[in-house]
């Protein structure tokens, strides 16, 4: 029954979104809806599961800032610097979050995939958006379950996964990528990650052909070199009641042109901001105490004055006594100082 109603829903989507027959990715994702219906309760990027199954994508946590994503296949092996992981015995059937001992005796943790873990592990095909910007984009675009979002370009799919997580189970993402190979790779990833039923990948130029949908979007996101050329298409993609738009640009000149176009096109609440995240390193630091000489009238004063050599040697001779240790957190020596400017705007009803 669920299958039938989902089919009906998707046929409805096809009709409403002005489906064009040349759109192969759309059919791909449409077919995968059917495939998705058969094995229920599999791990996915939008649904937690307890145990690892064949076909899952898991994140192997090797240590601080060292992780790798792997696809679980019966009989397969994955080499790590701690030795091999045998999928059949070490992964399948194990609980996510367990410690797995590798062949050389070292151990790793196997983690459930999340969009945030994917962001730091995905294969780069382009420059990607990181969680700091993604978090603010998600909040400022008012994304929530059920939202319909248009995005371009798809790039490496870092933001796409985060959007899908947030809009599931009833929302939809229409993502446009003009690079054919990247579009195909992204579509493949969405299938692997069992989120293909929530996304339509279109291989076209958003500046010329738009998003391929009209009157459906609650939010539009642009990460392209000339966002001002896509704003007129973005405007058409919005629902009649309007919605929120975001454009990500590294250069202020791009922001300038985008804001001018947004104003011309009747967008309101235009706001440009920048967010930077600092990761603090927690550690103990030890600082030596300065020696200010004997305190006035203290019992040591007589001894000290008679032996100036001992006074000189004192800080070196007894460092343990003369230092303080505290737990602190220090900002990194170097950090990402700029990713891009985020320009937000509201498309009013119209």
């Amino acid at each position: 029954m669920a299958g039938v109603s989902t089919l009906a829903m998707w046929l409805l989507c096809l009709l409403r979104s002005g489906y064009s027959a040349s759109d192969e990715y759309f059919i791909f994702s449409w077919l995968s809806v059917w495939l998705e219906l058969i094995p229920k309760n599999l791990m996915s990027f939008v649904e937690y599961s307890e145990f690892i199954k064949e076909g899952d994508v898991v994140i192997i946590f090797l240590g601080h800032e060292s992780m790798m994503p792997i696809k679980v296949e019966a009989g397969a092996q994955t080499q790590t610097r701690y030795g091999a992981i045998r999928h059949s015995s070490d992964l399948i059937g194990r609980r996510f979050g367990s410690k797995v001992t590798c062949s050389k005796g070292g151990w790793v943790y196997v983690l459930h995939p999340t969009p945030e873990l994917w962001t730091v592990n995905l294969p780069h095909r382009t420059q990607i958006l990181y969680s700091t910007d993604i978090a603010n984009i998600t909040l400022m675009l008012d994304l929530k379950p059920g939202s319909v979002v248009c995005e371009s370009g798809t790039g490496s799919g870092s933001l796409s996964h985060a959007i899908l997580r947030t809009i599931a189970p009833s929302g939809h993402l229409h993502t446009v990528e003009f690079h054919a190979q990247r579009a195909e790779k992204a579509a493949q990833e969405f299938r692997d990650h069992k989120v293909a039923h929530l996304v339509t990948v279109r291989n076209q130029d958003v500046c010329k052909e738009g998003f391929g949908v009209v009157g459906v979007a609650d939010a539009v996101f642009l990460d392209i070199p000339s966002p001002w050329e896509a704003i007129v298409h973005a405007k058409k993609a919005f629902k009649r009641k309007g919605g929120r738009l975001c454009s990500f640009s590294p250069c202020i000149e791009q922001v300038q042109r985008t804001c001018e176009t947004l104003l011309e096109q009747g967008f309101g609440e235009i706001c440009t901001l920048e967010v930077l995240q600092r990761v603090h390193d927690v550690r103990s630091v030890t600082m030596p105490l300065v020696y200010l000489g004997p305190e006035d009238g203290g019992p040591e004063s007589a001894k000290m004055t008679t032996d100036p050599a001992a006074e000189e040697a004192r800080p070196v001779a007894n460092p343990g006594y003369q230092s303080v240790t505290c737990r602190t957190a220090t900002p990194p020596r170097e950090m990402a100082g700029h990713t891009g400017y985020l320009t937000f705007a509201t498309k009013p009803r119209g």
Binding site: C13, R95, S131, I134, D142, S170, G215, H280, Y341
Partner: protein, 459 residues
């Protein structure tokens, strides 16, 4: 089934109805109110009656007249009223003698009393300013903008969202939300992987804003257990979101003072609530008043009846509360929550270490604190104890930009700090230990049939 494109519900969703929670916006100032007819609301030093907003579309802008009545503004009533092309090139001849404005304060007051619109007052001010035409184009624009802010009283009525409410609280009452800035809140929701279908534990003393934000991201799918200190959960901020009723069915609450009992398996659900008992006691002396008057006696009888009724209601309430407690306990007992979010004024360390026991392995958690040092303590303790990896202590900077032709620069004032976050991922702590713990008969005292029945009814 939810309409995936939301076209049909589009129109209905956007009309303002009586009883709904909305957010008023004027300039950059927000205020959350519930729409009620014939009720005065104060916003930006103005009395407002919301009556005329009912039935209008969300996002509509109204002009407030002197009686506080909202008048719908036409959407295409835009600013381009300043066609005076005359402008100076620099300010070398502009002298600040305090006499450039020919209108006195009294003149302006009388203009206002005449009921002149904001736009008209501003035009009067421009006409009576001797220096206006000598100002540069940019300075003229700035002058008009400043006056508009003062004399034009346009109020926009918005549908509440996490973004709007987080900005509102941060602007109006940062103390109530532990100075949690909206970009930090955004991080919490993202780092916590908050999404539909999960089971999330929330402990917050941010007026219910964090709770509401989590609920918005879950869209009524899954469950939220709010851990509360003191007598009851605070939810004012959550109420302002105006969630549909089925969202509330996914919300549970559990008192923090019973967490240790739950963990040790000694939680007794039949236990009478201490405070309600004392309340009953305090109402006793009133009925001891003796009166011989028959009319008075009748009244007393009625009063007695009423009291009985109240007692009955109270009993029902207590029973309901007990059921809810049992349901929340059942949710927590599985120790398989999908996430933990903490944002409170309390020292986070003990709460974090304790509440993490309810979270399944391989799930994210995130702790907010206005200060850095308590999170350093959490970090250190977690490292010692194990059971968590990928620990990160972060904070973020938020910078706004003014983007205007030839006048683009960062906004002069920025927020000094939006608080700190500690995030991480749970893992199974030392395999054998974890197994032992989970095989222990935890909280067997809760009657199982009861739990399942209440859990079913609330699911």
């Amino acid at each position: 089934m939810a309409d995936p494109l939301g076209v049909e519900s589009d129109e209905e969703e956007c009309r303002i109805c009586e009883g709904e929670y909305v957010v008023l916006k004027r300039g950059e100032v927000y205020k959350s109110v519930q729409v009620e007819k014939r009720k005065k609301v104060i916003f930006e030093k103005q009395w407002i009656f919301m009556d005329n907003a009912v039935g209008q579309l969300y996002g509509s802008t109204f002009e407030v007249d002197s009686g506080g009545i909202l008048n719908l503004r036409k959407p295409k009533q835009d600013e381009d009223s300043t066609d005076n092309k005359e402008a100076g090139l620099d300010n070398r001849h502009i002298v600040d003698d305090g006499k450039s404005q020919k209108l006195t304060r009294d003149d302006i007051e009388s203009l206002k009393e005449q009921g002149l619109k904001g736009q008209e007052i501003i035009q009067q001010l421009i006409d009576n300013s001797t220096t206006f035409k000598d100002k540069t184009e940019f300075a003229q624009e700035k002058y008009i903008k400043k006056k508009k802010k003062k004399y034009e009283s346009n109020v926009t009525v918005l549908k509440p969202s996490c973004r709007i409410l987080a900005m509102m609280y941060h602007g109006r009452e940062p103390g109530k939300i532990c100075h949690l800035r909206y970009d930090t809140l955004a991080h919490m929701l993202t780092m916590g992987n908050i999404h539909a279908g999960s089971k999330i534990i929330v402990f917050e003393t941010c007026a219910g804003l964090v709770l509401g934000s989590v609920m918005e991201r879950m869209g009524g799918h899954g469950s939220v257990v709010q851990m509360y200190p003191g007598g009851g959960p605070v939810r004012a901020g959550m109420e302002s979101f105006g969630f549909p009723s089925h969202f509330h069915e996914t919300l549970h609450e559990f008192p923090l003072c019973k967490v240790n009992a739950l963990l040790s398996g000694t939680l007794n659900l039949d236990e009478k609530d201490m405070d309600s008992q004392s309340e009953e006691g305090s109402s006793e002396p009133q009925s001891m008043e003796v009166s011989l008057d028959p009319a008075e006696a009748k009244k007393r009888e009625e009063r007695e009846k009423l009291r009985e009724q109240k007692a009955q209601e109270k009993k029902a309430k207590l029973e309901e509360k007990r059921k809810r407690l049992a349901a929340a306990a059942a949710l927590l007992e599985g120790r398989n929550a999908d996430g933990l979010v903490i944002a409170s004024r309390f020292s986070p360390c003990s709460a974090l270490l304790c509440l993490l026991k309810f979270v399944a392995p391989s799930r994210p958690f995130v702790v907010y604190c206005q200060y850095r040092e308590p999170l350093i303590e959490c970090y250190t303790k977690l490292r010692e104890q194990g059971g968590a990896i990928s620990l990160r202590l972060t904070d973020s900077w938020l910078r706004h930009y003014q983007v205007l032709p030839n006048r683009t620069h960062p906004v002069l004032l920025m927020s000094g700090g939006g608080g700190y976050l500690l995030s991480g991922i749970t893992v199974a702590s030392a395999a054998s230990g974890a197994q032992q713990k989970s095989s222990e008969p935890a909280a067997k005292r809760i009657k199982l049939d009861e739990i399942t029945s209440t859990a079913d009814s609330s699911a």
